[in-house]
Each structure stands twice: as structure tokens, then as C-alpha cells.
């Protein structure tokens, strides 16, 4: 009886898992199919081809867009980690005038929806003449309040005696942060890194507003312009472009997966 229950349970789980993963697998498979086979739900094709990728690469500068996306998302992620952890360290572990206000202000930032600041931010970028630059894509995202608060919370739990020991050993605050706190904060740093990277990597609206030059476009932006503008010509090409967009995130997730799940469980943050 027990074994049947178990088989039934795994059966249901397998079906549920399949409903999640199948569309993705189909998308991956479809990028290798010729146009005539798109009607089929099969994952295999007798006439597999790289044509869709070739066409995509020829019609728009996807290579350049990939590099742009990496540059933008990478810079933003590094900045959020470095500057964010410096701020979080100060908020969590240093006594200074106005520290409660800084906490409240950071919390306050979370209450303002991004859409509300979109227009003022755009106006600002136009005013300072940064339209059609990488700076326009990167500058507004260098700090992130959620990341700061998450890191602050984690830093609060690191024992004071480690900071004291480090100070006695002769370290300054920066060195304490990067040689003691960072190695001990891998879970929170990974989750912040992956959220920031994914958020930035998938961002479409802001790049559409501030970048019009094709050679500066990020991958999702170019993909949107390419698909909506009819440049793709076929579903296969569109899906191939989507694959290029998805793969780096999947790779990043695979690398950071263990820390990611650990800290999701630990932080009480729902994905």
C-alpha cells in the first residue's frame, strides 16, 4: 500500500514538474526546428538546424547586445554588492550621528514604486545629457535599498567579537568588511547578486526610454525592438533570441544555486 502511495505521489510531482519545464524545453528545442515543424509539440526534430540562430545573428547585432547586457548587469551587480555592503556595514555595525534616520530613509525608499520615479529620472537623465550612454543604463541602479536592508540584517548577526578581534589585529573598517564579513556573508551576497543580476538583465522599460542607438541596446531591449518591429520574421528566430537572453541567467543560477536556496530558506524572502 505504502509503495503505491509513493508511486502516486511521485507521479503527480513528475506531471507538475513537467508542466513547468516542458514549455521551456520546447522553446529550447524549437530554436533548432525548421519553420515547417513549429506546429508539433515534439522535442525532437529529424531536420535539426542552426538556421534560426544564424538568421538572428545576421539581422541584428545580438552579439554586441549580449556584451552590452553583460557590461550593464555586471557593473550594476558589482556596485550593488560593493557600495551596498559598505552602506549596510555602516548601518549595522557603526555608531554615528543620524544612523536611525538612515535606516528609516532606506526603508522609506522601498515604499516608493519604481513607476513613480521613472519620469523624473528620465527628465534628469535628459537634463544631464546622458541619453544614449552606458551611464544612463547604469547610474540609476548603482544602489539598491532592498539589497542594503538584506545585507544589513545579515551583518547584524555576525558576532561583535569578530569585529573586535579584527580591530585588535589591526584592520580598518573596509578591510573588516571585505576580508571578514564578505566570506561569512556568502549566502546573502549570492542572493543579492542573483536578484540584482536578473533584475538588471531582464530590464526592458528603462533601456527603451534612455537608449535609442542600436549599438548601445541591451539584449532584452534589442529582442523587444527586433520582435515587435517585425525584424525576426519567424517564431524560430524570435525564440533563438530569447534563448540567448535566458542562458546566462540559467548558468548564473546553476552556479549560485546552493547558496541561493540556502539563503531563500534563511532569509524568509520569497522568490
Amino acid at each position: 500500500m505504502k509503495i503505491f502511495k509513493r508511486i502516486a505521489l511521485y507521479g503527480v510531482l513528475a506531471v507538475a514538474a513537467l508542466t513547468f519545464i516542458y514549455p521551456f524545453l520546447w522553446m529550447a528545442a524549437a530554436t533548432f526546428k525548421p519553420r515547417a515543424e513549429f506546429g508539433s509539440l515534439s522535442l525532437f526534430s529529424a531536420n535539426a538546424t542552426f538556421d534560426n540562430y544564424r538568421t538572428m545573428w545576421e539581422r541584428a547585432p545580438f552579439g554586441r547586445a549580449l556584451l552590452n547586457s553583460m557590461l550593464v548587469a555586471g557593473t550594476i551587480t558589482m556596485s550593488v554588492l560593493v557600495f551596498g555592503s559598505i552602506t549596510a556595514y555602516a548601518m549595522a555595525r557603526l555608531r554615528f550621528r543620524g544612523s536611525p534616520w538612515l535606516n528609516a530613509a532606506t526603508m522609506g525608499v522601498l515604499l516608493i514604486p519604481g513607476q513613480l520615479t521613472l519620469i523624473p529620472m528620465y527628465t534628469l537623465i535628459v537634463q544631464v545629457g546622458l541619453i544614449d550612454t552606458y551611464a544612463a543604463l547604469i547610474l540609476p541602479y548603482l544602489f539598491n535599498a532592498t539589497a542594503i536592508l538584506m545585507m544589513r540584517q545579515f551583518f547584524l548577526q555576525i558576532p561583535q567579537s569578530l569585529i573586535d578581534s579584527a580591530r585588535m589585529d589591526g584592520m580598518g573598517e573596509m578591510r573588516i568588511l571585505f576580508t571578514i564579513f564578505w566570506p561569512l556573508s556568502k549566502p546573502v551576497l549570492s542572493i543579492v547578486a542573483i536578484f540584482t543580476f536578473m533584475g538588471s538583465w531582464n530590464e526592458v522599460l528603462w533601456p527603451l526610454l534612455v537608449v535609442r542607438e542600436q549599438h548601445l541596446m541591451t539584449l532584452p531591449q534589442l529582442l523587444t525592438v527586433f520582435s515587435l518591429g517585425g525584424g525576426a520574421g519567424s517564431v524560430g528566430v524570435m525564440l533563438a533570441a530569447s534563448m540567448v537572453l535566458v542562458i546566462p541567467v540559467v548558468i548564473a543560477y546553476a552556479i549560485l544555486q546552493r547558496n541561493f536556496i540556502e539563503s531563500m530558506a534563511g532569509s524568509g524572502v520569497k522568490g
Binding site: D164, S165, R167, D169, G170
Partner: protein, 366 residues
């Protein structure tokens, strides 16, 4: 080795004064213990000396150098923390050597010192392990090693044994004492455990509410406590206290309290004998217990009581007894012990009796 001087040091957190006008000289090579209950300010004093806490008022000197406003790294002191403060992501070797590497000490010299400390503290087999893979006692030794390799001017210990179990604590206490005597480094040691203080300290400073209650050799604190706090704090089991009156009768002087009356040795008492209300204090080991035989009256220097509890600790036994409304404790070496409920006669060694008026000790003999 240098001396350490606190000059009118005060520490306030907001409106709360944690340490109040603290003055102390720690001599060259001395092991000085700061002891007191929680909130007595002992850890704050140590942290101010380490540079981890700012001094609100006053001055701290190490030898002739005023270190009051120097950061920890510029003071050349090393500290062992209560929870050891070992870097969890580094091996024992890295933990030991980090402070030296940051001070740009030559690699060969770092190796020499790490080997020396590891040898002294029996850490060689553990050098490549992470702190998590060590027992509490081993972590404690690594923490000490880390302080030793620095070869600092002053060692600071902040309740280093309080996370260890009783057996290990006794063993580590002996090791710390031995180590300090060998290295002869000036040491300030903070603890709430008076046994640790008594066994380790060359001198002890008893603190309460941020103020020094008494400074002295362990035996001085035990024999001649200056006030009720020190008398009650130093010694295990603690001193018995009874409030009563000193009265002169027929040329002899006696102490009288409800249900308790015995003669005091006149010649031992100071010329200006306190009159009126006093607190009498006597240590449990300064009493002798006898089971009352039928018909035998009590001696003049004895009190009568009834046994309520007998704790047999092996060599020594603790007899809790009621004398009138007072619950007292005697520590005896007797082979034959009274049973619960027995009437006993307890002789007070009057030369060991302490009398306190308004919290201050006015008399005892030693």
C-alpha cells in the same frame, strides 16, 4: 614589560554612567583581575584599555604613552574574547598569523612565532583546521595563541573561560596562570567568577556599579574585606551576615541578635567599639559544629541552632542551620556529621568575626 595607568577614567553611555572616576595602576608583569557582577563595568574598562570603547573622561597610559585616543591597532595590546572571536573561514594557522601579516612582520618571523605559540599551547596538529572543527578548549587555546604571537605590551582577557565546562575551566585556569608567569606580560583579566579571580590574580580589583570597592591581594580581600559587598562577593560559600547589636555586659562584650547571642573577644576589638546596629559577618569555614549532648550548656562564644540541610561534598560538608530566624551556613571537615533536625552548638571563631557599620567594615582580626 610596561605598566598600565587609568587616571580618572569615566565612561558614559548617554545618561548612564558605567564607569565612574576609575583610577588604577597595573604594575609591570602583573596579572591583575577585575572582578564584579554583571553591570559592574569591568568589561567596559577592559574595552577602553583595548581601544574598542571611547573614554568619556580621563586618561589611559601604557607606560608613559597616553593611549586614550589611539585606535586599537596603535596600542600594541592583544585581547582574548569570551567567545574567542576566531575567524570561522580561516584555518588556525591563518587565525594566528593574520595580525602579524597585517603588521607586515617578515614571513620567517611569523613562522617562528606561530610555531612557538603552537608548541607552547599544543596546537601543532590543529594548525590546518578551521575553528568549527575544534573543541571549546582548543578554540580557547587558539585565541590565546593569537594574542601570544603578537608579543604585545599588555594581554587582555575578557571572561575567557566562561564558555567552558567546569573541568576544562579549572584546567585552562592553570594553563593561563602558568603561561602568564612564564611570559611575564602585564595582564588585565576580567571575570565574574571570584574563584578564578582568587586563584589567578596577583592582585584583584573588586568592582560594583562602575566603582572600585577594594584593591588588594586575594588573601587580603578574603581576610579583610572593606565593605559588605566585598565580604559577600569574595569566598565560596559566601560569608554569613546577621544584623544585630554590640552590647557591653559585666565587663565583656557580646553580639546580640534575635535568637542569637555570643561573646566577642574584647582584646581583639578596636578601642572605639561600635555601638548600636552592626552587621556581623563570619565565613562558613570559621565555625565549628558540635551536636549538643544532653545537659551540656552552650559555651559563651557559641550559638545554638537546628540543622535544616547537610550537603556532603566529600572532604568538606556544608551544614545549613537555623539560629533563631537566621539561616546560616557552616563548612566543616567533620567525620561525624549531624542529621537534619539535630540541635547543634556552633562555636564562632571570634577572632575571625567581621563587624560592619553602615556597610563599612570596622573590625575583624587578621
Amino acid at each position: 614589560m610596561p605598566s598600565v595607568h587609568f587616571e580618572h577614567v569615566t565612561k558614559r553611555f548617554g545618561a548612564t554612567t558605567v564607569v565612574d572616576d576609575f583610577n588604577l595602576d597595573v604594575e609591570d608583569g602583573e596579572l591583575l583581575v577585575l572582578v564584579g557582577g554583571s553591570g559592574s563595568g569591568k568589561t567596559t574598562i577592559l574595552r577602553m584599555l583595548a581601544g574598542l570603547e571611547e573614554v568619556t573622561e580621563g586618561k589611559i597610559r601604557i607606560d608613559e604613552t597616553d593611549v586614550t585616543s589611539l585606535p586599537p591597532r596603535a596600542r600594541d595590546v592583544a585581547m582574548v574574547f569570551q567567545d574567542y572571536g576566531l575567524y570561522p573561514h580561516m584555518t588556525v594557522r591563518e587565525n594566528l598569523s593574520l595580525g602579524l601579516r597585517l603588521r607586515k612582520v617578515a614571513t620567517t618571523e611569523i613562522d617562528r612565532r606561530v610555531t612557538w605559540a603552537a608548541d607552547m599551547l599544543r596546537l601543532e596538529p590543529l594548525l590546518d583546521r578551521k575553528p568549527k572543527q575544534l573543541s571549546g578548549g582548543q578554540q580557547q587555546r587558539v585565541a590565546m595563541g593569537r594574542a601570544m604571537v603578537r608579543e604585545p605590551l599588555v594581554f587582555l582577557f575578557d571572561e575567557p573561560l566562561s564558555n567552558l565546562d567546569a573541568g576544562l575551566r579549572a584546567q585552562m585556569r592553570i594553563e593561563i596562570g602558568g603561561l602568564q608567569r612564564r611570559l611575564k606580560t602585564t595582564t588585565v583579566y576580567v571575570t565574574h567568577d571570584q574563584v578564578e579571580a582568587m586563584t589567578l590574580g596577583d592582585r584583584i580589583v573588586v568592582l560594583a556599579d562602575g566603582k572600585i570597592q577594594q584593591i588588594g591581594r586575594p588573601i587580603d580581600l578574603y581576610r579583610a574585606p572593606v565593605n559588605l559587598f566585598v565580604a559577600g562577593f569574595v569566598g565560596t560559600p559566601p560569608m554569613n551576615f546577621v544584623t544585630g547589636l554590640v552590647a557591653s555586659q559585666n565587663g565583656s562584650i557580646s553580639f546580640a541578635a534575635e535568637g542569637l547571642n555570643f561573646a566577642l573577644l574584647e582584646k581583639r576589638m578596636p578601642s572605639a567599639m561600635p555601638t548600636g546596629a552592626v552587621t556581623m559577618g563570619i565565613r562558613p569555614e570559621d565555625m565549628e559544629v558540635d551536636v549538643i549532648d544532653n545537659g551540656a550548656g552552650p559555651a559563651t562564644d557559641s550559638v545554638q541552632g537546628r540543622v535544616v540541610l547537610v550537603e556532603r561534598l566529600g572532604g568538606t560538608s556544608h551544614i545549613h542551620f537555623d539560629a533563631g530566624p537566621h539561616r546560616l551556613l557552616a563548612a566543616v571537615q567533620n567525620e561525624r556529621l549531624p542529621a537534619v533536625g539535630d540541635a547543634i552548638s556552633v562555636r564562632m571563631h571570634s577572632e575571625r568575626i567581621h563587624l560592619f557599620v553602615d556597610d563599612e567594615r570596622v573590625s575583624s582580626v587578621s
